[in-house]
């Protein structure tokens, strides 16, 4: 999984006790931390959080479009996995396991939000799904705005899969694993979403 850059950044920039972890080759592995967490080691749990939370928070924020829902998903996912650590056979699989749990929760929250939005006639998605960097080129900002508009109207599963693939840069197998579906289904979701996104972008470019 492509997550190394994020991990490095987190370890350098944090103020939580994870900074006391030895860097480099001496850094304890997920399997080791999971083993210690199973024995009730609070420090190990915190280390797991510090290591994996930024990535999950990023994904959840981009799927849901707001911090509050993303934080909710983050906490629920960690709660669930910490409670079920005993069921994890391979401690090294903690990251993908957590991501799958988080993505499922985010997807469910998105569906629920849309359902309540239809029932109570409320607008559920933020006006801007993505938050571009200030120094991003103007045409990129415009494209992101358009993509956000398209994604807002996509089915939740397709939206999640497309974001994982094209925003986060996950491999197809990683997308399928995170969504908890087969590779074929993952591909189909991504393709369906991508077709709509491309159509929208092409249409707009043509109109211009």
């Amino acid at each position: 999984m492509r997550g190394g850059a994020a991990l490095v950044k987190v370890e350098v920039g944090v103020s939580l006790p994870i900074r006391t972890l030895p860097l480099g080759g001496n850094e304890p592995s997920d399997a080791e931390l999971v083993s210690r967490a199973r024995l009730g080691d609070a420090w190990a749990e915190r280390a797991l959080y510090r290591r994996h939370a930024p990535k999950l928070l990023r994904v959840a924020r981009r799927i849901l479009g707001n911090d509050a829902d993303a934080l909710d998903v983050l906490q629920e996912a960690f709660l669930a996995v910490f409670q079920r650590l005993g069921q994890l056979l391979d401690g090294a699989a903690f990251g993908p396991w957590l991501m799958r749990s988080g993505v499922r929760l985010a997807s469910k929250k998105l569906k629920w939000r849309r359902f309540t939005g239809r029932v109570f006639f409320t607008h559920v998605d933020p006006s801007e799904l993505f938050d571009p960097k200030p120094d991003a080129p103007a045409e990129v900002k415009e494209q992101l705005h358009k993509i956000g508009q398209v994604l807002t109207h996509l089915p939740a599963d397709q939206r999640v899969a497309w974001i994982l693939r094209y925003v986060e840069g996950y491999e197809l197998t990683e997308v399928a694993a995170a969504c908890g579906v087969s590779l074929a289904t993952g591909k189909r979701w991504i393709a369906a979403a991508h077709t709509k996104v491309q159509a929208k972008l092409t249409e707009k470019e043509g109109a211009r």
Binding site: P54, L57, R62, L71, Q83, F130, D131, L144, V167
Partner: protein
């Protein structure tokens, strides 16, 4: 499907700020400290609730409340048009309500139809324990006084034109054109004697010719249980007009109910005049008996000593005496509650606390628990 050249995230702000991560961890810790909530999706719960409601409305809802029936006797026989005789009578009705008639009582059945029972008390004393639970509306007319049952247990006594209503449990509605206000609700321990008798007595006693004032009417309504057994004396009874009371001889034997009745009437008169020591002396004599009347007299004596004569020790003795006698159940609770006050006012905190505990044990949902608690901690 095209492979992405580079993820779009390189153009996006990183939402995983340190502040959010910290907030996430703190929220996680807080959630772990609290009880985990039910994770079932809310819409499933909402759906289940809606389904249950639908089932309740369309299937489980009682089709109709069973219509009330006219009351009969418990054995199925119809109520006689008139009840009462030389001896006491006790009837159990089909809704399990109890009707007790004193000796010489004359009670007539006015109307008995589904949902409504109308009785006319011509003379004597009747005690009702109504258990209709609102299905039947009870009304008892006694002279110009009309009593409607709101609650459960009460006594109506009529002697000549004098009617007296005593409530031991629940609530009744008493209406009489002579009352001020004409409709009053009585709760447990309350006694009301509408001044109808006065107009009748007025013809016999010219000095009581003026109509009673509102303040006099309110004085007549008292929470004094002993007054329950004491018919209201005639006239608004201003002290100048009242004949000087005769002092009862010391410790005479009270052999008949009539004697007790006379003494209680005297006690009532004394209390109205403000002669509380004399009222207490008379009540103490009646309390020497061993029947319900003596029990009520003892309870009233205790209240009098506590409220008017500042004698909590004597009040406690009287209340102990009342509890040792056959006191009606509603009055029982009053006596226990007032014992706590008596002990507290004597400064016997430990005993007051012990009595408060006993009160709570006997009456777990007692009506006077707040007052009892307040006295026990003074």
């Amino acid at each position: 499907m095209n492979e992405p050249e580079a993820p779009l995230s390189r153009h996006l702000e990183d939402p995983a700020s340190e502040a959010l991560l910290q907030a996430g961890w703190q929220g996680l810790e807080a959630r772990r400290r609290t009880k985990p909530r039910d994770r079932r999706p809310a819409f499933v719960m909402a759906g289940a609730g809606a389904l249950a409601l639908a089932v309740a409305v369309f299937v489980g809802w009682p089709s109709k409340t069973p219509p009330p029936r006219a009351l009969t006797l418990a054995d199925g026989n119809t109520l006689a048009p008139s009840l009462g005789g030389p001896g006491p009578e006790r009837w159990v009705l089909s809704d399990d309500s109890r009707l007790e008639l004193g000796p010489g009582t004359k009670l007539e059945l006015g109307e008995n139809r589904p949902g409504q029972l109308h009785l006319l008390l011509r003379q004597g004393r009747m005690a009702l324990d109504v258990r209709s639970q609102g299905r039947t509306r009870w009304r008892i007319d006694s002279g110009s006084t009309s009593i409607e049952v709101v609650g459960t247990r009460f006594v109506v006594e009529r002697q000549g034109d004098r009617t007296q209503v005593t409530v031991t449990e629940g609530k009744v509605r008493v209406s009489d054109p002579h009352l001020v206000p004409p409709v009053q609700y009585l709760g447990p321990g309350e006694v009301l004697s509408p001044p109808e008798a006065r107009s009748a007595q007025t013809t016999l006693e010219p000095q009581a010719s003026r109509p009673p004032t509102a303040s006099e009417m309110n004085r007549r309504r008292s929470r004094t249980p002993a007054a329950a057994s004491t018919p209201t004396p005639p006239g608004p009874t201003g002290p100048p007009e009242s004949p000087p009371p005769t002092v009862p001889p010391p410790n005479p034997a009270i052999t008949t109910p009539a004697q007790a009745e006379d003494l209680l009437r005297e006690a009532d008169e004394a209390r109205r005049r403000g002669d509380h020591p004399r009222a207490a002396a008379i009540l103490a004599r009646v309390a020497e008996g061993s029947d319900t009347r003596a029990a009520l007299a003892a309870l009233t004596l205790g209240r009098l000593l506590l409220d008017e004569l500042e004698d909590p020790a004597g009040a406690d003795r009287a209340l102990v005496r009342a509890l040792a006698l056959p006191l009606p159940s509603g009055m029982n609770e009053i006596a226990w509650a007032r014992r706590v006050e008596a002990k507290a006012r004597q400064g016997a905190r430990a005993e007051a606390q012990a009595l408060a505990d006993e009160y709570q044990r006997r009456f777990p949902s007692g009506r006077f628990w707040a007052e009892v608690q307040a006295w026990s901690v003074r």
